[in-house]
Amino acid sequence: MPKSQHSFTSIRPKGEALVWFTGMGLSVGILLIIGLLGIILKNGLSMFWPDTIYEVQLVEGSTAGPRNGQNFAGAIALERHKRLQEATNAGLTSEFQFFAGNKDAYGQMYHYVDADQIVTDATGEPLFTPASGILQLERIEFGDALGFPLEIQLADGTTITEPEALKAALFKTIEESNERLETYTKIEKKQIGRINSKMESIRLEQRALREELGEAAAETSPQIQELNEQQAALQAQYTELAAEARELRERRHQDSLLLRLATGEERRISFENITQAHFPNEMSLPGKVGFFLKQIWRFMSEAPREANTEGGIFPAIFGTFVMTLLMSLAVMPFGVVAAIYLREYATQGVIVRAVRISVNNLAGVPSIVYGVFGLGFFVYVLGGSIDELFFSHKLPTATFGTGGVLWASLTLALMTVPVVIVATEEALSAVPRGMREAALACGASKWQAIQRIVLPASAPGILTGLILAMARGAGEVAPLMLVGVVKLAPSLPLDGEFPFVHLDRKFMHLGFHIYDLAFQSPDSDAAKPMVFATTLLLIVLVIVLNLSAITIRNHLRKKYKGDTF
Amino acid sequence: MNRYFHKELEEIRSKLILIGEKANEAGRLAVEGFIESDLEKTQAAVKMDDEIDDLEVEIDRASVRYITLRSPVSSDVRLIFVAIKASHDLERAGDEAHSIAKKTRTILTRDGKVKNPVEIEKMSALAFAMMRDAITSLLDENLELAQGIIKRDKEVDRINKENYTTLYNEMKGEHGDSSTHVETILISKSIERIADHAKNLAEEVIYLLTGE
């Protein structure tokens, strides 16, 4: 047989196995990503969906459930096989986790019940009937309440018990109560807050004057007199506003709802504690969808409550956003300038190569090390000096001498700068030589050529670097814990109060929020859905930031496209 | 698109016109000198030959330069080749005029006057018309005109033969000096050759225009 024929009949060409191998690598990657995203999506989103509340009937003699054997109502949170050891004893495999709410009455919101403790139907399956007419209340304290409404008692003495009227009055009262809440928060936060800050500045002025003139002379000086008068006027205003707020508060406190729990006891709940109510078993599908969307919106736009396990995560979203933005603003110019020098000006030799390797290796330093550096350098050294120089009157209260959004951003910028430098260097070297030569041949100096031609042309590549840096920075938690992130920030780093941007403020961050919910929360069952929802949001935020950078990059690419080389 | 060096092609073309006109003019002067027994015209015709020769060299040179430097293709190449060939034909026509003039001069210096001009006038009119038309057809790229010329050559050939017979018979009857007759026969032959060159030129024009 001729030799050549042999190679044609070979079934498996050489190297084909490698193609399978690469394909396999990709599929594993895709599978992991899809799996992870799927879990996060499902768990994150299910938190917003109004679950059906079932009546859970327990078998005779059972001691399970929130009230030791009494029937109760709850949503099924989980069904799973029991731990092996117990299962072998009982010969049963399954247990349920119910969400029964009413933490104030039951002590905890989630309860595990073995399947054999639940009354079964003809087929032997556990019998769950939707609890008709059950009301789910979202409360400021103690989490959700589940129960059947009995009566509403208003501050003016009226009581409503008739079911239909009660339903209408319930929603109306919640709405009114929320309006009152808004009004008095506005009074307390905005107006009284303004008065407070004015009083504070008067106080500081007084102190300065006293120091200047001496204690005794100050008392008689006209300036102090005037300040005192102003202070008195403000005090009067304050009293007035405070009274108004108190009245509204009082009113909210007095309205109340009487609820019968599925376990039999009755509880009276003040409307000041209720933020929202719905009848989960009576909702139509569109109603549920509407509720679902509304819950998502509330989650994104409201502040957290109850040690972060309830309410929304708006401050964390905002904090993450502002921090990432500040980080980008810091890392961009720094990284780009460094890369320009490295690539364009430095004589390419041993030293530059060493610098380049060091920069690349910086990306591998554990992020907590950056946190420590940020704390030591930015917070204590830089922040401390700034405080001494500019904010000495506030000492010993630190302004910049403690963690804050600025220091956190700078720390992350430092951490991500290698990414930007590497990407920028790539982008610079990818600019066609012809373009540079053309600029130089036109009589441009080197800097002019870089500034006017090379940099714009490499902008898409530089932005890619920024995208990577942002993705890394936005998801980072460890260093932030040292340089300014907090569990609960009293105010946002950006607001309507002069000077609007408060770089010294501490802030909340989605990544840290996740950590806090998952590991620091008192009720981990209650926090679990929040963990997923927050993770989902962090991912969405990173995607949104990246998408906007990618859009800009594509726009630039189109602009600088063309087949020049 | 017209390229700047197409101007050079135009120059070759106009030199071609010039050489054509000169050849025709030389022929006309030579024949008129013969018919009118005008020695002066004859002398002028003799002199023109050098100019024609120079022009041909110029055309050849320009054509070779154009081919070397401008890398012409298609109709431009054909034009160049036709220019080389046509200038050659025209130069030969000029040579014929030169020889007519020289022979006329011999007759005139010997006899003082041309006694029997036979059908030279009519024949030369035909031949020069052919030559003019050939040049016109070249310049105007007139295919029909060029194709017509080829047929017209027959008439000139016929008259030439007639002239020959007439002169030959005369020579047989008249026992005297027959050298004038011989020279007249040669003059007639030269005119016939001019017509042949015209025909050649026409054929080249046909080649230029059709590529066949």
């Binding site: 012809g434 041949a441 036109c442 063309g562 | 698109m1």
Partner: protein
Amino acid sequence: MSQTPETTNARADFEPFIQIKDNYNFWYGSTQVLFDMNLDIPEKQVTAFIGPSGCGKSTLLRSINRMNDLIEGIHHTGDITIADQSIYDPSLEVISLRKRIGMVFQKYNPFPKSIYENIVFSLRIAGRNKKSELDEVVERSLRGAALWDEVKDRLHESALSMSGGQMQRLCIARAIANNPEVILMDEPCSALDPIATGKVEELIHELKKDYTIVIVTHNMQQAARVSDRTAFFYLGKLIEYDVTDNIFMKPSNEQTEAYVSGRFG
């Protein structure tokens, strides 16, 4: 072999504008690529550099506006003068030298900017930003590059939206925007189709009324068509330099003859 007589012979009959003289030698690191060059280029004429690949045409061309300075480790001996001024004169800045010399590259390389901005680039970097002046320069340059009628309605569109031939003419327009004395072209048509090539050649023929042009080309027909004088290089040496007619019709050197007749190598 008799090289020197031919070159010196060709030198006598005109006033040189660019002079490569004093046995110009050029090295990339330790590799010498140009050997003992002496070459006088006339004003307002087209001079073509031809020769096989790697013979140093581009190197010599890029020496004239000192583009080679960008490469590390180069050095030279000898001198190049433009209008009797040495380009290596320490008091002469490279930037101002390049402003006097326009350059057109093998591959059209417009900036990723608008047509307008491409042309005024050299003015803007010199700090000349007056609108009326820029407008005037744009029109003059585009007309000079025979491009005005084609693009006058889309001056502010991206230059990258043009055809290859248009882009190359834009690069020529950019090169003449600053009113240079010399235009250097390194294989300006090698990326263009015959029609675009024809247009550029036509343009070169027009431009030589105002500018001294030096063009490197691999296309011998092109050298024959556009140039007034032609220099043939081989292995870094100037083999023959003469008026184009002589180089192509009766070269005195047999290597030249072999090269132009395609019998080389």
